[in-house]
Symmetry: C2
Subunit: 160 residues, 2 copies
């Protein structure tokens, strides 16, 4: 992760892409969101979805997993160049999470995140707060998920 | 699920409670949010959390799982009484999801949901929209998570 000072509004991250298989949709939903249209093809056909669709929570956490992997790649790249690596703190929360279209079996969702606001934390002045809008788009170019999250990021130490 | 017309603002649901074990925290995070402080006790001790803490996504989906189970209990109770059961549709999204305190190993979170707004869908007039504020409180009475979600619920058919 870059230091807070090195991150600007408008900066975009290609977070990654994920294809949702039937087995994975059902495994996630069985564990966390066992509504019939997420765990059973027949029930899904009779539902408003029309066919098996992923839990909205699933399409959200798929972003998280890809984002952690992307940050890890960035950290490893910085270490190879002997560049400093800023710590990333806890997320404070999310706002405006919208599930705009279903994610169906076999859909590939491409996630992107864009910095929309940066500000220094009032309560913890050694940290910055990064507000990011994240989106997921399916293989037809349709926006399926969108949300805004805010996370602490370490500020550049004065002597670096 | 009750019909939209039978649900009023201020109505509360005791969604249930969940105790977060170390194994479960690590299993969830390994799969979906593999940040060091969610998957490794030593790394967690060195982090801002101070000890192993659940992914915020984990404390959110734990609510979902309990909510689905609670709705199922309500549906079964209604069926035993030969009462009609309203369909519940997809969630449109969430707003103002706040992770207010960490959820540590062994914490028991008690979830509650309260209806804060009801309105008829403009685009699908046979459905109502239910907006609910959900909270999770730990065994010390501290609010750890809060969010607002909006979900479609079937309206009472005219002849019922």
């Amino acid at each position: 992760m870059k230091y807070f000072e090195d991150i600007g509004v408008g900066e975009r991250t290609a977070v990654g892409r994920h294809t949702f298989t039937a087995d994975e949709i059902k495994a996630f939903a069985t564990r966390f969101d066992p509504q019939p249209f997420h765990v059973d093809e027949r029930a899904a056909e009779r539902s408003h979805f029309g066919r098996l669709a992923a839990s909205g929570w699933h399409s959200a956490v798929a972003w998280m997993r890809l984002m952690v992997a992307e940050r890890r790649r960035q950290t490893e790249a910085a270490r190879r160049l002997n560049e400093p690596v800023a710590a990333i703190g806890p997320a404070l929360g999310l706002r405006d999470l919208k599930w705009l279209k279903p994610v169906y079996v076999g859909d590939t969702i491409t996630y992107e995140s864009e910095v929309i606001e940066t500000r220094v934390s009032k309560s913890r002045p050694n940290l910055g707060l990064l507000t990011v809008r994240s989106t997921g788009v399916n293989q037809h170019g349709e926006l399926v998920i969108s949300f805004i999250s805010t996370t602490f990021v370490e500020r550049r130490p004065v002597n670096k």
